[in-house]
Structures are given as structure tokens and as C-alpha cells.
């Protein structure tokens, strides 16, 4: 996770590297630290520099979605690389987490 940019109640976080079971706990902790700010209701994850994600990453995303929904907020993702977009699509995550742009190199449905 590289940087965070906040604008009113929305924050954009750039994820980089790999999101698997090994890295999940660190990324989860960093995201939760950001979300401790009660004024932030909408989290956007820029995944342009994320090169790998498996179902452990899906668990992290669903956990943050739950936190945000409890305060009436939302979780969105953008710039997914094709393999991650495929994982997203095939596991149905695109139905519960907003995808802000078209999937790169894949169908959106």
C-alpha cells in the first residue's frame, strides 16, 4: 500500500505488490488505520499496481466493505489488472463491490 488521498468523506488508496494470505494482515491493518477516521465513508482502492491477488485478498476487501456499509459508506475499486479482474468477475465480487472503470482485457459481466 503506497499512498492515501482524502477528499471530504472519500479516500483513495493505492495498492501495490501482491495481496495474498501473507500480506493480507498488513494491508488490512493499514486500511483499518485509515478507516479509523470517522469522517471517511467511501474508500476507493486503486489496484493499478497490484500484480497478484487471491481469495485472501477478497476476504480483506469484503471485511472493509462490511465496515464501510455499517457506517453507510461504500467500497469501490479501479484499475484492476486482467488476472485480478478475472478473479473479481468469476467470484461475483463485481456484484457487491463497485468497479469504477471497465475491466482491462476482460468482459465486465
Amino acid at each position: 500500500m503506497q499512498q492515501a488521498k482524502a477528499l471530504q468523506d472519500r479516500v483513495t488508496v493505492v495498492l501495490a505488490g501482491e495481496l495474498d494470505h501473507y500480506t493480507a494482515s498488513q494491508i488490512r491493518a493499514q486500511l483499518d488505520e485509515i478507516l479509523q477516521d470517522p469522517t471517511l465513508n467511501h474508500l476507493v482502492l486503486d489496484m493499478g499496481n497490484l500484480t497478484f491477488m487471491d481469495s485472501s485478498g477478497i476476504g480483506v476487501l469484503l471485511g472493509r466493505l462490511r465496515i464501510l456499509q455499517m457506517r453507510g459508506g461504500s467500497l469501490s475499486v479501479k484499475n484492476m489488472q486482467p488476472p485480478i479482474a478475472k478473479l473479481f468477475r468469476l467470484t461475483g465480487m463485481h456484484r457487491v463491490i463497485t468497479v469504477l472503470d471497465e475491466f482491462k482485457g476482460g468482459q465486465s459481466e
Binding site: 494470505h21 487471491d54 481469495s55 477478497i58 476476504g59 488476472p83 478475472k86 478473479l87 468469476l90
Partner: protein, 158 residues
């Protein structure tokens, strides 16, 4: 030609990345496409993660649980990867393979591991019993660039 490799490594999370990269490097010999390579890496990561967090649940690194990985391919370009642990085993394999099923209560597991393996590979078999460990065997036919070219030609000639 046929080829085969084996890797044994400690069941620690740091080795998840090592395992998927090792299998991907082995599979390169079949000239997979980038999406096929990504499928293999994701499926291997799921199986190894399951071995570490479910198979060896409650084990400490000092106890030295090992993951045994084998990969082989044949002349048909079928890649077979098997990942074995000697952990607690699975009581009900059918239930464990259901989407969203997870025994990792409170740990934010998605319960999608087996579902991802089945989706990204062509066949997945699970051999397990309580106290006997688990072996996950996954197969994938590697179409590669040659197959993609064949598909394009077939499209052209209708």
C-alpha cells in the same frame, strides 16, 4: 516430452509466493499465455494457503509442518499440480468445497479457495480424511499461443 518436479517447504505464509512462482516457472516450458500463467499462480496460491491455514491450523512453525508440492506435464500439455499436507485433514470434503464455506471464523476468510481452484483449473480432486492430511490435485490443459493461433485461424475460415 514429459517432465516432473517436486518441492518440499515449511508451511509458513512466506512460502505461498515462492510456491506459486516456482510452479509458474516450471509451467513456462509449456509456453502458456499470460492469462494461463495467472490462472496457475492463483490456483497454486489457494491450495498452498489452505494447507498452511487449514491443514496445519493451530500448528506453530516450530512443529515443522511441511507442504509437499509436485508438478508434472505430459505430451498432451496437461499440467498436473498436487499439493499435500500432513495436517488435520477435512471432515467433509464436499462441504469444504462449497462456495463461501470457511472454518476460519472471525479471520475474514472468503471461503472461495476451492471455488477459485475449480474455476481457474480444468479439474480439481481432493483426497482427505480427518488426521490423515489433505492432497489437492489440480490439472490444466495448457493451450498456449499455438492454441490461440489455431483459434484465430478457425475464426478466420468460419
Amino acid at each position: 516430452m514429459n517432465n516432473r518436479m517436486e518441492l518440499n517447504f515449511l508451511a509458513c505464509p512466506q512460502n505461498e509466493s515462492f510456491a506459486r512462482v516456482a510452479v509458474a516457472a516450471f509451467a513456462v516450458q509449456l509456453s502458456p499465455t499470460l492469462p494461463e500463467m495467472a490462472d496457475i499462480k492463483t490456483a497454486v496460491s489457494e491450495a498452498v494457503t489452505n494447507a498452511i491455514i487449514h491443514g496445519y491450523r493451530g500448528w506453530t512453525p516450530e512443529k515443522g509442518g511441511m507442504v509437499y508440492l509436485k508438478a508434472e506435464y505430459d505430451q498432451r500439455h496437461v499440467l498436473t499440480v498436487s499439493i499435500r499436507d500432513e495436517g488435520c485433514g477435512i471432515l467433509d470434503v464436499k462441504q469444504a468445497m462449497q462456495p463461501f464455506y470457511s472454518t476460519g471464523e472471525g479471520s475474514e476468510r472468503s471461503g472461495m479457495g476451492f471455488c477459485v481452484m475449480q474455476t481457474f483449473m480444468d479439474a480439481v480432486e481432493v483426497d482427505s480424511a480427518p488426521g490423515r492430511g489433505t492432497t489437492v490435485t489440480m490439472r490444466k490443459y495448457i493451450l498456449g499461443e499455438i492454441g490461440l493461433r489455431q483459434e484465430r485461424i478457425l475464426d478466420e475460415i468460419g
